[in-house]
Symmetry: C2
Subunit: 234 residues, 2 copies
């Protein structure tokens, strides 16, 4: 069964979350804290990302979207900077919206446009629908549908997220390829029977922080999304 659809991790794989959140944090907090390190702020916030989703994955909490989880974890990040009391609610709201204002890695929009001529394309991200729409409108991501966490009401790497995406596409799992820069995401997708492609993002959280190659067996490994498109004949 040849691959007929590609589904994508978004944060890190398609979008530069680290640079975007660092930029917005510097912009929004510099008046209160001129020495704020946006990059460290972004990493500290992201460090609270996986733990925030865990109670939902465990079934101990109903699905809540990333805006909600980001707002909850933001207070902890601000507290470590001793900014917890000083930041007005409007600025906190704008900080949460930093995750809506992320830019794609440079080659992504053109590569997706080429891939769309041959494949169905959808995000399979932990982002909710409205967040995915913001990403798509800002970066011209040509999705056929928005799949992922909100569609499944759960978070990756829970199998339901991959399997509900496959079901919505009405394809066999091995006709759907999960594309991600994170080996853990690809390992979970492969366990569900999906094809997998790794995209290197060596600078995901700053220089030298990301995966340069897959740590698990994959069907394809690409230097970036343009390379993936070439390998897929697009």
């Amino acid at each position: 069964m040849p691959v007929q659809a590609l589904i994508f991790d978004v944060f890190g794989t398609l979008l530069d979350w680290h640079g975007g959140v660092a930029r917005e944090a510097s912009r929004l907090l510099s008046a209160l804290r001129p020495d704020v390190d946006g990059h460290a702020f972004a990493r500290a916030w992201r460090d609270r990302y996986q733990p925030g989703m865990e109670p939902i994955r465990q079934g101990a909490r109903a699905y809540a979207d990333l805006d909600t989880l980001h707002a909850e974890s933001l207070d902890g990040v601000l507290a470590t900077l001793r900014l917890g009391e000083a930041v007005p609610d409007e600025i906190k709201h704008e900080l949460v919206l930093a995750w809506h204002r992320l830019d794609a890695w440079p080659e992504v929009p053109a590569a997706l446009a080429r891939l769309k001529e041959r494949y169905l394309l959808a995000p399979c991200s932990n982002a909710h629908v409205r967040l995915a729409i913001a990403h798509a409108r800002r970066n011209a991501l040509p999705w056929d549908a928005v799949l992922g966490a909100e569609f499944a009401q759960d978070y990756k790497p829970k199998s339901a997220v991959y399997l509900r995406a496959v079901e919505a596409l009405r394809l066999a799992p091995d006709a759907v390829m999960m594309v991600a820069a994170h080996s853990s995401d690809l390992a979970a997708a492969a366990a569900c029977g999906l094809a997998t492609a790794h995209v290197a993002r060596p600078d995901e959280s700053g220089p030298g922080t990301g995966e340069t190659a897959p740590l698990v067996p994959v069907d394809l490994a690409a230097r970036d999304l343009a390379d993936l498109a070439r390998q897929l004949g697009c």
Copy 2:
């Protein structure tokens, strides 16, 4: 709260289901039944549409998609033509796919492109995701996301379908406008607090069969989708 998103009924409102199914039925059945009336065939099949969804709305049956319900009701339609035994499974499968091969009313793609500059756009149809993708790809429908029956795991006019769409858009109900050619759909959306727009489709199931004007109070009534775009300042 001004309207920020438009969600759309699809069959009849945006797409000519009657003409498309009639064309495919004539094409696929003419070898077996040269006198087949594609238009009557399309209407007879559509007559079985609402009853097929009813057990799911009532909670007596789990969500099953329109391909499944169309395949089930097709046998009844073929039986009334005394074609039940004669039609091979491949042709039945192609007949179900007739619902994937519908053309938009002529003004629709350009009107949606204009509306997209100002509003979030999504189908809120009883079509499932893969069917909505087929419609969008065939007719260049520029959706921001695919909402509707499969997202809610229920069928209109159940309130969950409208309310899950509103929730996914992260807007208040009155910031979302339901657009449909059917007053029953709009009445249900209005009961959920949505804004409503009626689009006249007087020839929906053949000449003179459709609604020329809304039968219930609505916020806007339009002659077609280009007229709706004009009334909304697009």
